[in-house]
Amino acid sequence: MTGKLQLARRTVQAVSFFFLLYLIIQAAFPLEVRIPVDLYLRLDPFIAIVAFLTQGEIIIRMLPALGVLLLVVIFGNFFCGWFCPMGATLDFFDRVLFREKKRSKPINDQPLKRLRYGIFIFALTAGLLGLQVLYLLDPISLLTRTLVIAFYPPAVYIYNHLLPEIQRFLPGNPFILPAMKLPIFKVNLLIFLFFAGVLALGVIRRRFWCRYLCPLGTLFSLVSRLRIVGRSVSDACVQCGKCPEECSIGAIPGETPRQYRQQDCISCFQCLDCPPEATTFGFHFPRWKTAEGVSLSRRYVVGSLAFGVFSALAIKTNPLQTESGLKNNRLIRPPGALPENKFVAVCTGCGECLKVCPNNALQSTFLEAGLAGLYTPRLVPRIGYCEEHCNFCGRVCPTEAILPLSVEEKQKIQMGVAKIDKTRCIAFEEEKICLVCNEQCSYHAIVGDDKKRPMVKEEICTGCGICENKCPVDGESAIIVYTSGVQKKVKPQPESKA
C-alpha cells in the first residue's frame, strides 16, 4: 500500500518536472501552446504575493496562485511533496548522489529550522524596500532560470554536435540540417554554481533546501496550520523511531512521534510506512495545536527584520544603485517593460523571456542594473536584436513586468535610439558602400544621404538593435543603441514618405 503510494508520488513528481521542462521547451517560436508556458510561475503564491505588494496592484495572470494558496490552507501542504518541480529535482538528486549512511547523524537542528523563517522575514522586508533577493530564492523561478540559463545552452551545444552523427544514419539525406543557433548567456556559470550548491546541501540532510531555506515552503508553513487533512497515530505506536527518520521534511519530533508539526508536513506519506501500522492520514477537524519545533524568539524576528532593512539600505546607498549609477544608457529593457524601478521590483528573473526570445537578444543582467536588478532581462543588440513581428517576451512574463502587448503596439515602443559612430562607420571612414543598417532597419529609421552614408531618424527609431547587430564593423558596432531610461512611443509617421 505505502509502496504504491510512494510510486504514485514519484510518478507525479516526475510528470510535474517533465511537464515544466516541456513548457520551457515550448517557450519558443511559434508559441502556440494552449497552456501558458509560464504556468508554474503563475501558480506560485509566493511570487504572487510579493509581486502584488511591490507592484501595488493585482496582476490578473498571477491570480491562479491564490487558488493554490487556498487549497494549501484547506488541505495542507501537498504542493512541495507532490507537485513542486524543485522538490522533485531535490528528491531525485538526494537519492542518486548521496547515500543515506553517509549523512551525519541527526543533530539538533533547531537553529537551522528557524533559518528559513529568518530568511523569509529578511527577504520580505528587503523586498518591500526594493531589494529583490526573494525572487532569487523562489524555487519555481530558481529552477526555471537554472534550466534556461545554465542547461539550455549546453543541451543545444550537444544537439548541434550530435546532429551530423545522427544524420549519417538517416538514409537518403545527402546534406546536413542547419544547426540550432547556440543560445548564450553571460551569467550561466554563476547560476549553475548556485544550483549545484543547493543540490550539494542534500549531503547534510535530505531536502535541506526545503527544510531550512525555501521561502515558498515557509509561506505554506505559515498558512497551513489549520489544514483538514492530516496525520493521526493510534495507540499501536511503539515509538520505533522510524517515522522521524523517514520524514523528508523533519516534521515529526523524534521524542514524540505521535505528534507532528502539521504546518510543515508536505503530505509525502512516507510515515505511512509504519511497522505497527499505527499511522493513518485522513480528514479531521482543523486544530491549532502542534508539536513544538521552531521557537521564533522576538529577538530573532526583530534581528531578521533589521537585517533585511539594513541590507536594503546598503543596496540603496551603493553607487551601483544610486541615480547616477543607474544611468547606464546601454541598459535596454525588453519592449513594454515597466519603468525601471517597478521593473526590478516585479521581475522575478525566471528567464522565460530569455528562453522565448527568438534571437537570443534578451540577456540576464549581472550588475548592470545594480544589485537590485540581478538576473533581470536586458536587450543586448550585438548578441541579438528585437524581432519586428515578435511580442513573445510580454506574452510569457508571469508577473507582467513586461506588458503583454500586441505586435502592433510593440512595434511602436521606443526602447532606445540608435546613434552612429562616424569615426568607425566604414561608410564615413573608408567611403565604402555598406548601408547594412539601412537595409536591415525594419522601420525605415535609417536613411542614406547622397553619398550613401547612413543617418538615423531618431523620432521613428525603436531601438530594436538590428542595425547594431548586423553592423559589419569588427568588435563594437559602429551604430549603437542608447536608451534614455524611459520607454516612449514612437511618433506616428505620415504615410506619404518615399
Partner: protein
C-alpha cells in the same frame, strides 16, 4: 491575393515593347503558339520573358521556349532553389517571392523527374518569422519540397574563389555547391546601397558572412561569388516588384506581371534593371549603371548587352 497574382500590361511594358518594336508582330504571332503543350527545341531563346497570366501560366510559358524544365532537370536529380525569403514580410509587400510561383516551380521540377527539391535561403530576419510570414514554407511543403535556412554554420563549406577579383574565399551553402541542379529564384527590388537587387545579388543568400562583402567591396564581391556555382537556370519573379524602401520594404510596389527564365544570369539582370527608374535621371536603369552587373560581365559571367541576347517575349494566357 487574386488581383495580386493577375498580371496586367502597364505603360512600361509597352515602352519596353517599343524597344523591340520590330519584333512585335513576331511576338504576337508566337504568342498563339506559346502554350506549355508546345514543345520547343532546346535553346530556342536564351532569355524568355512571359507576360500576362497567372503565376503558373507565366512560368510554364517562360520555360517552354528554353526547352522546358526537362532540359535542366533530369530524372532522379536533386534540385536546389535559392529563393528570396530574406525578410519577414507578407507576399503582398513584394519583399519575398510569390508563393504561387514558387509552388509552380517546385511542382514543375518534380514533373521533370526531380528526386527532391530543396528551397534554401540565408535569411536576414529571423528565419522562422520569414518562413511563416512570407507563406513560402507552407507552399514549399505543400508542393512536396523541403525548406531550409542557412542560420547554422554547419551547412556551409569553405571554398576558394579562383576567379574572384577581391573575394578569394567564402563559405557557401554546401547543398548549393553539390546539388545536381541549381536554380536561382530572385525577385527584383530597389536597393539603396546597390541601387537594385536582382539575380546576381540573390547569391548573397548562399554565403555565410554577408556582412563581410560590404566591408570589402560589395559590387565586386557580388560578381565574385557568382563565379563559384553558376545557376543552371535563373527564374526571375517579376510579378510584383518593390520600387521603394528596398530591399526590406514595405514600400511602393509595382505589378509588372512578368516571369523571366534564362540561363544567362547577367542578361536577365540587365533586362530587369529596366523595370526601375534611376533616381537622378528618372529614366530606366541601363545595365552598366548597376556596378555589379558590369563587374559580372567583366568576369565573363554573361552578356550585358541585350542586343546580343536571343530574347523572346511570350504571352502566357
Amino acid at each position: 491575393m487574386d488581383s495580386f497574382s493577375r498580371a496586367k500590361l502597364t505603360r512600361r511594358d509597352l515602352l519596353k515593347g517599343a524597344v523591340a518594336a520590330a519584333a512585335l508582330p513576331k511576338m504576337f504571332f508566337l504568342s498563339s503558339y506559346s502554350r506549355p503543350s508546345v514543345a520547343y527545341a532546346a535553346g530556342d531563346a536564351d532569355l524568355v520573358i512571359a507576360q500576362q497570366g497567372t503565376p503558373t501560366q507565366l512560368l510554364q510559358a517562360a520555360m517552354a521556349p528554353l526547352g522546358g524544365m526537362g532540359r535542366f532537370v533530369k530524372k532522379g536529380q536533386r534540385v536546389v532553389i535559392k529563393a528570396n525569403i530574406a525578410w519577414a514580410r507578407t507576399p503582398e509587400q513584394a519583399a519575398t517571392n510569390n508563393p504561387e510561383l514558387l509552388s509552380a516551380l517546385i511542382k514543375m521540377c518534380y514533373q521533370a523527374g526531380a528526386k527532391r527539391v530543396a528551397v534554401w535561403d540565408h535569411t536576414c530576419d529571423n528565419y522562422q518569422f520569414c518562413f511563416s510570414r512570407s507563406g513560402l514554407k507552407k507552399v514549399t511543403q505543400e508542393a512536396g519540397g523541403d525548406i531550409y535556412s542557412g542560420h547554422g554554420r554547419n551547412v556551409y563549406k569553405k571554398v576558394e574563389i579562383p576567379k574572384g577579383k577581391k573575394l578569394k574565399e567564402a563559405e557557401f551553402i554546401q547543398d548549393v555547391l553539390e546539388t545536381d541542379v541549381y536554380i536561382t529564384f530572385p525577385l527584383p527590388k530597389q536597393h539603396f546601397a546597390t541601387e537594385l537587387t536582382l539575380g546576381l545579388k540573390n547569391a548573397m543568400g548562399t554565403i555565410w558572412d554577408m556582412e563581410l562583402l560590404h566591408k570589402i567591396d560589395l559590387h565586386q564581391c557580388i560578381a565574385d561569388i557568382n563565379t563559384v556555382r553558376k545557376p543552371d537556370l535563373v527564374v526571375v519573379d517579376a510579378i510584383r516588384i518593390l520600387t521603394t524602401n528596398g530591399p526590406k520594404g514595405p514600400g511602393k510596389t509595382e505589378d509588372i506581371g512578368e516571369v523571366c527564365a534564362t540561363t544567362d544570369m547577367v542578361a536577365v539582370d540587365a533586362y530587369c534593371a529596366s523595370y526601375f527608374k534611376h533616381p537622378k535621371t528618372g529614366k530606366p536603369f541601363r545595365p552598366a549603371e548597376i556596378r555589379f552587373i558590369k563587374n559580372a560581365y567583366d568576369l565573363g559571367l554573361g552578356e550585358m548587352n541585350l542586343s546580343k541576347v536571343r530574347m523572346k517575349k511570350v504571352k502566357a494566357a
